[in-house]
């Protein structure tokens, strides 16, 4: 009797434990590649639109400190999915086994650009010869910059580059300490707000217009999650793409959603920032291949730039192994 009673209690416990596991919401730890800003708004919009809640997914959003930080944290299991520049992932995987895979592309154009002051006589990249630019110390752009110059017939050291803290770049530019800055184009609204105070206007020289092609920001997932719960990866990507479309149609909504979750953000600037990043998402390439696709030739070109910048043999990595097209939503 006692044994039977004990067994039935154990069984009941086991069943309830099982049903608890089945009933528990799927949880995803999402890591953006940088501090909250308009161009990171999509995931916040997805939360605010209730897309995660409807799918029974609990989401925790954190801010990484750069794409390579995201790759590291996904690889070590500190986060499950996140966004980062595809180059950072390719670079990491060329050197070591990093259990992270790109599951969807977001930017089909590289976001890097040079900001200069309008009317300073700098109309094209070649005009930067002998000028001084500020760049963020740990920016991935720094590695590619000499190659972009070379591709445009300039010496790699034709332009002086000062490495500074990201927060110092704007003030240095506004006060004329430097002739311009190297930035992601998504930072333009914040820079414009600052330069307006200084009575100046900005001219943008996007690197994509000077031959720097490839996939930029992409969605990554840890290999552990892909193996353990592939359905969850597919669900999250589906949600992300839905939110992306809503944001492209209505950047103000993306700005407002970010503001709702990160109150210190300026909703208008956030909306402008998203609109600036939408120009890298909603491109001819995306129109042709579909939003989120990894087209083999553009993927190969993304890798060729990384290989060249890192001085790696081109055959040291097959970029196809760094991506999967299995989860890209229709």
């Amino acid at each position: 009797m006692t044994f039977r009673a004990l067994r039935s209690i154990l069984l009941a416990l086991g069943v309830s434990a099982l049903s608890a596991t089945a009933g528990a919401a799927d949880k995803i730890r999402w890591l953006n590649d940088w501090l909250p800003a308009g161009d990171k708004a999509v995931i916040y919009l997805a939360v605010q639109e209730g897309l995660f809640e409807d799918a029974g997914i609990e989401v925790e959003i954190n801010s990484g400190r750069g794409s390579s930080d995201v790759v590291t944290k996904l690889g070590t299991g500190a986060a499950d999915m996140g966004t980062g520049g595809l180059s950072a992932l390719l670079q990491a995987q060329a050197g070591a086994e990093v259990p992270v895979t790109a599951v969807m592309s977001i930017y089909t154009k590289q976001p890097d650009a040079v900001f200069v002051a309008k009317g300073a006589g700098i109309d094209r990249l070649q005009d930067l010869k002998g000028k001084t630019l500020a760049t963020a110390t740990f920016s991935a752009s720094n590695v590619t910059w000499p190659l972009v110059l070379e591709a445009n017939g300039m010496e790699p050291d034709a332009v002086k580059v000062l490495k500074v803290d990201p927060g110092a770049m704007g003030p240095m530019f506004a006060t004329g300490r430097v002739d311009g800055t190297i930035n992601w184009i998504t930072k333009l609204p914040a820079f414009e707000a600052l330069m307006n105070d200084a009575g100046k206007e900005i001219k943008v020289l996007p690197w994509s217009e000077y031959g720097f092609n490839g996939y930029g920001l992409s969605v990554f997932a840890s290999d552990r999650l892909i193996q353990e719960n592939p359905a969850l990866v597919a669900k999250v990507l589906d949600i992300y793409k839905k939110a992306l479309r809503i944001a492209i149609d209505d950047p103000a909504k993306a700005g407002a959603a970010l503001k709702a979750m990160v109150p210190d953000v300026d909703a208008d600037i956030a909306a402008e920032e998203f609109a600036a990043s939408a120009r890298l998402i909603d491109t001819d390439v995306a129109g042709q291949d579909g939003l989120g696709a990894f087209e083999p030739e553009l993927l190969a070109e993304t890798w060729r730039w990384v290989a060249k910048a890192q001085d790696l043999p081109e055959d040291s990595l097959d970029p196809e192994t760094s991506v999967t097209r299995e989860f890209i939503p229709e």
Binding site: R29, W34, L35, P36, A37, E60, I61, N62, S63, G64, R65, D69, T72, K73, T76, G77, A78, A79, D165, P166, G167, A168, G170, P171, A174, T175, A190, F191, A193, L194, D197, A198, P263, D264, D266, I269
Partner: protein
Amino acid sequence: MKSPTISAPRSSDRRRWPDMGRALLKVLDRGAPLFASLLLLLIWELGCRLFQVPSYLLPAPSAIVQGALSVSLESWLGHIWATLRVSLQGYALAVIIGIPLAVALANSRLLSRTLYPQLVIIQSTPIVAVAPIIVVVLGAGDAPRVAITFLITFFPIVVSTVTGLLATPPAMLELSRSLGASRLREVKNIQLPFAVPYIFSALRISVTLAIIGAVVAEFVAAEDGLGFFIAFSTSFFKVPQAFAALGVLVTLSLVLFQLVSLTQRLLFPWSLPDAEK
């Protein structure tokens, strides 16, 4: 007859004037630190206005106040609480581990020979450089930030407490041993009381270090807190806001510093130097 009536008020005037002068001097003397700070703020404000220094380079005090007011009270409290929570947890951990460790080190030659070098190595490691690794290892949440704060704060507590414990006059220890006191009583009743001034000077230094530790950690990984808010504000070039957060951090440090001093004054008044009693 008239002259004394006239001279009387004069003489009292003469007496009153120096009195007032002395009182004024006293007020000035007492308020000197405050007046100096106000004067500095005034020079800062005027300098910024006169030379038209843009607010993204050096915001004037008025711009900093405006920047502070542009952030909601709820948001401020959220950031302050996040930083305070991490600082105090790291600090408490440092005290709880640091003081017993110091007692062990002071009383065991083997421990001090084996552990002390390790502690010095930990202290010599630039925490800012290790912080990103700690975050990767301990994951999201408060744990990595508390660990970073702990690492920054606990060394001064250990070193200072050991110094205090070893400052016990050997004669006192010999006396207690000759009377057959247990080792525990020796530590509790003789060594620790002697170390109290040393412990509190370390606690005062460490509490300000705890704030620094929390901020360092927030620069590396955080979603709230004053350190995060400074990084966040400068990423949008909102320099006045960042300065306001800096002001809040300084205030927080000062308040905590004073609280530790107050604790010593209330609980261990005898341990204060004569001048402060």
